[in-house]
């Protein structure tokens, strides 16, 4: 492949976005949707052309604008970038096909989605810090607009909150860039690597610079304590955008953190990521279990699953790092599947609350089936994909017992909360099963059943295209199954892509021991589901839910997070 053509991964979606806008000028020409399909087909085809050389360990670098040297705009593609681009294009494509089914999304929606895609490709390919900053802002601005596209008041509020927090984060990132430039005279990752390995790199301010860069990216990646914007932004966005944000956008920034951590070669960063990831996983799943709005619950799970990915990377063993990238891919597939299928539930019923939707399974068996694929994947049930990548991370984490057992508890919580969520498909709308609910909610339910007839015709009312809506769901479920069944082979491929060598020992997830462990997790998960949905559990849930942070407190929390991180780095003993 010619060296320079990797820039097309960014250019093609950008050019496509221009064509989607032409429909604004000539409203009778239907060019938006063909343009979107063409963009993604060409990008994916192009990615396939690169597959062979990338698997053979080649790397591509291109200098844009003929400004070489330490300050040029450089893009580079390696194995990590290849996998990243793969899941970005696949998931974005299917989320946009889902959007095709709904006529309320006009060409400006696709315009911003394609700009977002282009920005994400830019972040993945960026090999210098300033290019990374600009691409992050492209991703950010298009994401704020897409969240506000839902045109609900709460969505606009969530978008504003996200804007304030991530702008603060990006200012801190900018401060870090300045620190790097001042000390190294270079903005390239390669220049940074030289600096960190040289004796000058052990200067007193180096850890501070690294902390600033990682905290800035951390706001976008949403690890604790920088996660406060995520549940609202991801749950209030339109359904395809939720799938995009949770599926790919947060992972794209994590790829940037990944590159930074690898470049700095610093052990402290890894340790920080390990513990922050563990706490993120635990706290995320706990809050998820307490939620009653279905999309908020899913959004908290994104926090929690990012915790797995971050902790797996932080543990630093070959197995857990490849597991981390594998889980990124898997999470992109099953989380977008879950958001789209629950978006479908919301479109069909017009309800957002878990307790008001019941017994959908009989009316919409296909929807229940695809949801089951997603839920079983995220809960880590074999033979679906979540099982393999979570096992990889867990095996790689064995040296850190606290992190290991925390992630174990997280998987129990995940199972419990997805049992809770799946109630909307299997639980019948009967008085008997409602005896443990509070009287007020019971009244709500009765009211709901009276309106049921009118609500269930929501499909006809919105003029939803069934084929376009279900096609991405079915394909994503099949992907979940394939990446699960061939998990071992895909793990080996990912290992080759990251480390340029085959794994030294064979990893086999399909053992009796793992199966028993899964059965124990399922048992404990169902048990904790009953614990949480008991009368006392419901009261507890309500109390936890009422602890909502206001915008001012969120900002304070974020600043406290920055100060805390800065102080820890400052007081850390120097090795």
């Amino acid at each position: 492949m010619p060296e320079g053509s990797i820039v097309l991964f960014v250019i093609v979606p950008l050019a496509g976005s221009f064509f989607t806008l032409l429909e604004k000028i000539w409203p009778d020409r239907r060019i938006t949707k063909p343009a979107v399909v063409l963009v993604f087909f060409s990008c994916l085809l192009f990615l396939l052309f690169y597959a062979k050389p990338i698997f053979q360990g080649e790397e591509y670098r291109i200098v844009l604008g003929n400004w070489g040297g330490p300050i040029g705009i450089i893009q580079a593609m390696d194995g990590l970038a290849w996998v990243g681009l793969l899941f970005v294009y696949v998931v974005t494509f299917f989320a946009l096909i889902f959007a095709f089914s709904d006529k309320t999304y006009d060409s400006s929606f696709y315009f911003f989605s394609l700009i977002l895609t282009s920005g994400m490709a830019g972040v993945i390919l960026a090999a210098d810090l300033f290019n990374l900053f600009v691409c992050l802002e492209i991703v950010g601005i298009s994401a704020y607009i897409l969240i506000a596209y839902a045109k609900k008041e709460r969505a606009i509020l969530a978008s504003f909150k996200y804007l304030l927090l991530s702008s603060l984060g990006i200012s801190v990132f900018l401060l870090g860039i300045f620190g790097i430039y001042r000390n190294t005279g270079s903005l390239l990752f390669s220049g940074m690597a030289e600096y960190f390995s040289s004796p000058a790199g052990s200067a007193r301010e180096t850890p501070m610079i690294l902390a600033a860069l990682i905290a800035g990216l951390g706001v976008r990646t949403a690890f604790i304590p920088f996660h406060t914007w995520l549940p609202e932004a991801h749950s209030q966005a339109p359904h395809p955008v939720s799938a995009l944000l949770s599926g790919v956008v947060i992972k794209v920034t994590f790829i940037a953190v990944w590159r930074l951590a690898v470049t700095s070669g610093s052990m402290e960063v890894r340790v920080f990521l390990l513990w922050s990831g563990t706490i993120t996983a635990l706290v995320g799943v706990f809050w998820a279990l307490m939620q009653k709005e279905i999309k908020v619950l899913l959004a908290w799970h994104s926090v929690s699953q990012m915790g797995y990915i971050i902790a797996g990377f932080g543990a630093g063993t070959l197995l857990s790092i490849s597991g981390s990238l594998f889980h990124m891919l898997n999470h992109a597939l099953f989380k977008s599947l879950l958001f789209l299928s629950l978006g479908m539930v919301i479109i069909l019923t017009g309800e957002y609350s878990l307790k008001r939707i019941r017994g959908l399974g009989r009316k919409h068996p296909l929807l229940a089936l695809v949801f089951a694929f997603g839920a079983l994947s995220i809960a880590g049930i074999p033979p679906l994909n979540g099982f393999v990548s979570k096992k990889l991370i867990m095996v790689g984490l064995k040296e850190h017992p606290v992190a290991y057992w925390s992630l174990w508890i997280t998987s129990i919580g995940t199972l419990a909360s997805f049992t809770k969520l799946s109630a909307l498909f299997w639980k019948k709308q009967e008085k008997m099963s409602l005896s443990h609910l509070a009287p007020l909610e019971e009244a709500d339910l009765q009211e709901n059943s009276a309106e049921e007839v009118s609500q269930n015709s929501g499909m006809e009312k919105t003029g939803l295209n069934r084929v376009a809506a279900f096609f991405p769901l079915v394909v994503l479920s099949i992907f979940c199954l394939i990446t699960g069944v061939f998990g071992r082979q895909i793990f080996e491929m990912i290992h080759v892509l990251i480390f340029r060598q085959s794994p030294s020992r064979v990893f086999n997830p399909w053992t009796m021991e793992n199966l028993w462990e899964t059965i124990i997790v399922v048992f404990l998960g169902v048990f904790s589901y009953f614990l949480v949905t008991s009368r006392r559990g419901e009261v507890f849930q309500g109390k936890i839910r009422s602890l909502r942070l206001s915008l001012d407190w969120t900002l304070l929390f974020l600043l406290a997070g920055f100060i805390f991180l800065g102080l820890t780095v400052f007081l850390l003993p120097r090795s």
Binding site: I71, F130, F133, V134, E137, G140, I141, Y144, I145, A148, E153, R154, I156, L157, S159, F160, L163, L164, S167, L168, S171, L174, L175, I177, F178, Y181, R182, L187, R548, S550, L551, D552, L555, L556, L559
Partner: protein, 113 residues
């Protein structure tokens, strides 16, 4: 050194504003102040590297490193985009809730939910 402290004070003013002001437009302005403080910091520290403006017509004297200035030009453009978007979101919030006070908006949003 006093210049660095002045920039720090500007930065902290922005931080206080973004947390303590209840008015959304003031929050956006505070975000701008933070951004400006950073830009001034870059330009100031970058300007210490030389004396002359970076115009390479005759190579006399030590020129200022032009890279921080070029970078900040981009950062200013990005900042303008974010501000414009933030203000348009504030306008939409005002139209939806009839107030610019964040605490009242959040109260109304909670009641509505």
């Amino acid at each position: 050194m006093i210049r660095i402290y002045l920039i720090l004070i500007l930065f902290l003013l922005g931080v206080f504003g973004i947390v303590l002001c209840r008015n959304l437009i003031k929050k956006v302005i505070a975000l701008n102040i933070i951004n400006s403080a950073l830009i001034i910091l870059f330009i100031y520290l970058g300007s210490l590297s030389g004396k002359d403006a970076p115009i390479l017509l005759d190579q006399t004297g030590i020129i200022v490193d032009p890279v921080p200035q070029a970078l900040m030009l981009t950062a200013i453009v990005v900042g303008i985009c974010v501000t414009a978007l933030a203000l348009s979101l504030v306008y939409k919030l005002y139209k939806a809730y009839g107030t610019l006070d964040i605490q009242e908006i959040e109260k109304k949003a909670r009641e509505h939910a």
